[in-house]
Amino acid sequence: MATVVAAGFVDFEITWRKDVFGGAPQAGSAENFGTLGINFRARKTTDEEELAAALAAWSCEISNGTGEDGEREYDPHLYRP
């Protein structure tokens, strides 16, 4: 999420997640990392003012410890399993 917000997007939301690799013909070498398929959406800010407000709000979430849910949400170093 951090990467998406920092790039100028707001309203980030993961709407769906599912094991989309289970039962594939070959085993993936990254299965141990618990990979899931996801759908996510976001919106580009309208202007600089909206972007500044979004970044400020996100900073507050991080400093208050409310921005994590225990998963590695859209880790910027994800790789394909």
Binding site: G8, V20, A24, N39, F40, R80
Partner: protein
Amino acid sequence: MSEDVREQPALDIGSLREAIREEYAEVASDPHKGFHFHTGRPLARMLEYSDEWLEGIPEPSIESFAGTGNPFSLGELRPGERIVDLGSGAGIDSLIAAKKVGPEGRVIGVDMTPAMLEKARLAAKHAGLTNVEFREGYAEALPVDDGWADVVISNGVLNLVPDKTAALLEIGRVLGPNGRLQIGDILVQKAVPESAKRKIDLWTG
């Protein structure tokens, strides 16, 4: 710096791209070979693509489908809108998008694998869709004008991009104000060690 980081050389971006290109050239040329991911129509069904969306999409485009999500479930693409499909592969999502935006809309699919681009262009021709084109390029340097797009879609591709920040900034560049990002991708539930992030075979295999 942790021990495992010191043991691994830095990720070679050129080698990574070449490995990914080889992998997906194989998905284009031999889609039924059997990969470590699902492909084709069964995958589309698993990802909740409707039969209506697939109507008129040439089978070669469907059989090389290798997405991980469903960008169309995230919001309607409206007639007349301009869409960029990042990592368009054999073209299935670009062609679905082209049907949704209609003749007044435009779709640009971008991919770095020539075999996939060739397959996608042929599929568009066979489908009779003239509002879609496919361009060779990288996610970090999209061959699209500033602010051109209303929506950027992508499916199973961002996880393969070495510099995700650059790709997201580039997506922001090609989107107009209020532009939408509708992405299918992957998420990892466990921390990935730095050493693993530098292994090309873990990106591709």
